[in-house]
């Protein structure tokens, strides 16, 4: 770790005005801190968002679940309100990384980092969530741009995420045996605006499987997608899995997610 300055503001505006060109926001730190420790990243200053009360918390009404950016995975996993409104979201949060990661990691940090194998992007894209920042609101379809790239500008900070409550939704994940990130994870939701199928871990960025969406729109059942393959070209390949294997996992996980949907 290289040395850096550290600030812990108590308000959103204060945090945004504190951030300079070579500075970084610190959320749960589950990616940033190990990267800094390995000297793979460097910051002049860390602006710790942990002291900003308005970024934390969960609220649920008839149509939406709203989660503050600095809400930890464990809090989403354990929330009775989330469990009752969108059980798949609570299930997803309870399977992120390990207990230590869930006790520190936050939804805002996770989606801002946009790791291609992170779990939350699948939930946002699958549920058609909206990301709120200090400047604007961004639909999940527009938020996740590419590998570790989002629509966020330099001085833009995620404040909360709103999830429309679906008719039913399910998430199935095949964890990377080593890291327990998603080797492939599929989030399936039947919503007022149609069926959405979001895939994480298999490509450079979370994406929608539109063939499956079409099939599930006419029949929301695992059998409806049993014949649908995903083209492996363009999917990720690394020491953990080939593109062909990930393509297979998309089919298997999608079917499991549909079966699990509630």
């Amino acid at each position: 770790m290289y040395s850096f300055d550290y600030e812990r503001p108590s308000g959103i505006n204060e945090a945004v005005s504190a951030i300079g060109e070579d500075d970084k926001f610190l959320a749960g730190g589950q990616t940033l801190l190990p990267t800094l420790k390995l000297r793979l990243a460097q910051a002049d200053k860390l602006v710790d968002l942990g002291g900003i009360a308005e970024l934390k918390g969960i609220s649920v009404n008839d149509s939406e679940v709203t989660i503050g950016a600095m809400t930890r995975h464990v809090d989403v996993a354990d929330s009775a309100d989330v469990k009752s409104a969108i059980p798949a979201l609570s299930f997803l949060a309870s399977h992120i990384g390990d207990a230590q990661v869930r006790n520190r990691g936050t939804i805002g940090g996770s989606i801002s980092n946009n790791d291609p194998a992170a779990d939350y992007p699948a939930a946002l894209l699958g549920l058609g969530a909206t990301v709120h920042t200090n400047k604007r609101s961004i639909s999940a379809d527009d938020f996740f741009v590419d590998l570790f790239e989002t629509a966020l500008e330099e001085d833009e900070l995620v404040t909360k995420v709103t999830f429309p409550i679906p008719e039913k939704a399910g998430y199935a994940k095949f964890p990377n045996p080593a890291s327990r990130y998603a080797l492939t994870g599929v989030f399936v939701a039947k919503t007022a605006n149609g069926v959405r199928v979001a895939v994480t871990g298999a490509g450079t960025c979370v994406f929608r499987q539109t063939d499956m969406e079409a099939a599930l729109s006419s029949n929301f059942a695992a059998d409806a997608i049993s014949g649908i393959k995903t083209e492996s070209s363009g999917l990720s390949a690394d020491i953990h899995a080939s593109a062909e294997y990930r393509a297979n996992l998309i089919s298997v996980m999608a079917a499991r997610a549909v079966k699990a949907a509630s």
Binding site: S3, P177, A178, S179, E244
Partner: protein, 783 residues
């Protein structure tokens, strides 16, 4: 008379209180006044010549105390690291052991090779300065794969080792084997890869060097499994300091699995540098360095063939192996694929003739050496995958095939065609017990049930054997070892009756403080709370060969028993004098000395007190109650047993679920059944890791390590493992006074073969370790 907490009792481990409450004394917890911090600049390249190193900017950086390179150590007369076991090739030539400097002199040969040692007031400053060192590398094409390294035209890694060959070794009667194959009714063949593993002890390696200018004494605190051997090598071969001026201390050490046996560059450099700067220097590896530099394990490629008669009886076994040594020859690396491997290829079987040849070679990878089991897991993997394949080829049940070919319980001592003389055992008993425990006969019904659920079930067996209690000095000496593998102990009574035991074994998780105390409690009636076990300090313990190869109890424990025998002998003389009887009439039972046929008796405590306050004492006896013993075993010990694994595979993902596991191990007599069971659990977990999850991967083109963190190198976790059914059989070992065989490695030796046999049984075809979900899925889907 039975004794509380004696031999056979599952006593809770005395040492766990301090470990669990964070009161252990691990190396990085230690700090010395005036201490500086060391950091190694390491090679980013797998293979490169060093054209120049410019330290000027780095030396001027804030906080830098000094920076050293390999050239500085050479100029100071410090020798290279050594390999302590000489192997002779088929043609009679000694193995090639190219120079292995602690820091690179003219070339780097693996990613992570040491280039410079930066010492600063803080670790951050040392790291910052290391980034200012300018090294001009002439990058060479690397080779990481052993088959490619030994093929013609491969990059030449060391001038001293043409064709990258370390040795081309053989064992057994080639002509007899060839003849048996020529006349065999059946021949089965198998090709195997034994994957490369990273040892991953919980505590990374570390060193703290200290120099006393007044006395000239050097003290090295280090994470060692064998501090005396480290001192011997550093003194005799590297010239760090004479043995009497070098103290090596290994305090609480957080696991080793073999990787802390070896004398490494970093520890050596740290103690040398402490004298150079006349200040204490501390170096602690981070996890990335551990992946790059802790000696790896396994990495064999093997072809094996088994010849059988019409009746399914084994006639001969032929094995050819290529073993990857890495970039340099580590401390005991040469012995692992030879005398710790080829000598175990008879397994539990009566095989009339065996021939094995092993080519060991260099690659641009981290050195490979002993890792839990060391050679014996490789042997068991070859033998037991071979047996399963042969049974399948013959259409026989694999357990019946084994039972037909086992060495029978009345055949001991049994001399194998590959040097070893097995001393005791009952192989059919262990196999039949394991089959009962796992309901082997009910497998077909369970398989049908799995099939109905869309799953594929498999069952696999491994009947392993290992040679432990390493080792009879004369035997290993004749095979090329540079050391004798005896052990020492001192049992010292304090005047008030408590006992301090000094052992040359070293505990880094094994529980010696409890097990050895149980021996004292049992033999001398001393409560285990009153027994202190001291280990890991060359200034306290007479000498020691350390802990590895499941040797601590069989060899170190036997040394303690020999010292206890001397204590008893002396105590009898004192008791006879004090109770006015003749020595012949004194009877000893668990620390109580009585005069035969009378009610006169004295306790061990009373006698020890009399020995230190000898107001009324035999005229011909020395006062005091402390005895030393050195024990050199008569033979190896031969733990053996059967593990059976049952798996269920999900064909849609290829994921392997281990649904059942039966382990029956013959460890001879058992001192603490709970600790033994824990060792079996841990060993099996490591074996499961090898079979399913673990594997060091290098990029073949660049030689970069791709599995350099836990994000990519997969360690087994609790939820990867089933509940184990564990049992022991206990045929006492005839070659040591405790009748014990050793239990530390059995699980890691048996598990990979049992599990892979189960997977192969389910799939109906061979795959190599690790059996990752994708590999299994591809095998099922034929792509």
């Amino acid at each position: 008379m039975s004794v509380e907490n004696g031999i056979g009792a599952s006593v809770r481990r005395k040492e766990d209180q301090r470990f669990i409450t964070g009161n252990g004394h691990y190396l990085d917890d230690m700090n010395k006044v005036g201490q500086a911090y060391g950091y190694f600049l390491r090679s980013p390249h797998a293979f490169a010549k060093i054209k120049s190193i410019d330290l000027s900017a780095a030396k001027a950086a804030p906080g830098v105390v000094d920076i050293f390179t390999g050239a500085d150590m050479v100029a100071d007369g410090i020798g290279g690291l050594i390999c302590g076991w000489g192997i002779t090739s088929k043609d009679g030539s000694p193995h090639n052991a190219p120079p292995h400097n602690s820091m690179a002199v003219d070339a780097v040969r693996h990613v992570g090779d040491q280039v410079a040692f930066v010492i600063a007031e803080s670790l951050e400053q040392a790291k910052n300065a290391s980034e200012l060192i300018e090294v001009d590398y002439d990058v060479q094409t690397p080779v990481t794969n052993i088959a490619k390294a030994l093929a013609p035209g491969a990059p030449q890694i060391h001038e001293e080792a043409p064709g990258n060959l370390c040795y081309d070794w053989e064992l057994g009667d080639k002509a007899a084997v060839d003849a048996a194959f020529a006349n065999a009714a059946h021949v089965s063949k198998i090709d195997l890869v034994n994957n490369r593993l990273s040892p991953n002890p919980m505590e990374p390696r570390a060193a703290l060097g200290e120099y006393d200018m007044g006395s000239g004494d050097l003290t090295l605190y280090t994470t060692s499994q064998n501090p005396h051997v480290a001192r011997l090598i550093m003194s005799a071969f590297l010239g760090i300091a004479p043995e009497n001026k070098l103290r090596v201390v290994a305090p609480d050490v957080g696991g080793g699995f073999g990787s802390k046996i070896f004398v490494y560059a970093e520890e050596t450099t740290t103690i040398w540098a402490a004298r150079k700067i006349n200040r204490p220097v501390k170096w602690t590896a981070d996890r990335s360095e551990a992946f790059l530099t802790d000696a790896h394990g396994r990495d064999h490629v093997t072809h094996a063939e088994l010849a059988m008669d019409n009746d399914g009886k084994i006639l001969a076994f032929r094995v050819s192996t290529q073993a990857n040594m890495g970039a340099y020859l580590s401390t005991f690396a040469s012995a692992v694929p030879t005398y710790l491997y080829g000598t175990l290829l008879s397994g539990q079987y009566k095989i009339p003739s065996i021939y094995v040849e092993v080519q060991a070679g260099f690659t641009n990878t981290t050195p490979v050496d002993a890792y839990r089991g060391a050679g014996r897991p490789e042997a068991t993997y070859v033998v037991e995958r071979m047996m399963e394949t042969a049974a399948r080829d013959l259409g026989m049940d694999p357990t019946e095939f084994r039972l037909k070919n086992f060495i029978q319980p009345d055949a001991y001592p049994y001399e194998t065609p590959v040097i070893m003389t097995y001393d005791s055992g009952d192989y059919p008993l262990a196999m039949n017990m394991a089959k009962d425990m796992i309901d082997y006969s009910g497998f077909a019904a369970r398989k049908a049930q799995s099939e109905a659920n869309g799953k594929i079930r498999g069952i696999g067996t491994a009947a392993y054997i290992e040679a432990c209690g390493i080792a009879p000095s004369a035997a290993v000496g004749s095979l090329g070892a540079g050391v004798g593998l005896w052990e020492s102990a001192e049992v010292r009574f304090n005047p008030t009756g408590s006992v301090t035991v000094f052992t040359g074994s070293h505990s880094h998780g094994q529980g010696h403080e409890t097990t050895f105390a149980q021996i004292i409690a049992d033999k001398l009636g001393v409560p285990i709370e009153s027994v202190e076990v001291v280990h890991g300090d060359t200034s306290k313990v007479p000498f020691g060969m350390g802990t590895y190869g499941s040797r601590s109890l069989a060899v170190g424990g036997s040394a303690i028993v020999k010292a206890v025998d001397k204590i008893v002998e002396k105590s009898k003389k004192i008791a006879a004098h004090l109770m006015e009887a003749s020595v012949e009439d004194i009877e000893h039972d668990h620390g109580v000395f009585s005069v035969a046929g009378t009610d006169k008796q004295m306790t061990m405590g009373e006698i020890a007190f009399a020995a230190y306050v000898p107001h009324n004492y035999p005229a011909d006896l020395e006062p005091g109650m402390a005895e030393n013993a050195f024990y050199d075993p008569l033979n190896f010990t031969f733990p053996a047993g059967t593990h059976i694994a049952e798996v269920e595979i999900d064909p849609s993902t290829g994921i392997v679920d281990i649904v059942d596991w039966a382990a029956v191990d013959d460890f001879g007599n058992v001192i603490n059944p709970m600790i033994v069971e824990g060792q079996v659990h841990g060993g099996v977990a490591q074996g499961v890791g090898q079979a399913l999850l673990e594997g060091v991967i290098y990029d073949e083109e660049s030689g970069q390590l791709l599995t350099g963190s836990y994000m990519d190198y997969c360690m087994p976790r609790a939820d990867d493992l089933p509940n184990f059914r564990v049992a022991t059989t206990n045929t006492p070992c005839p070659s040591n006074p405790l009748g014990v065989k050793g239990c530390g490695e059995a699980g890691a030796i048996a598990a990979p073969a049992a599990l892979m046999n189960a997977i192969v049984n389910a799939l109906g075809k061979d795959i190599n370790m690790p059996a990752t979900p994708e590999k299994v899925w591809r095998a099922i889907n034929n792509n």
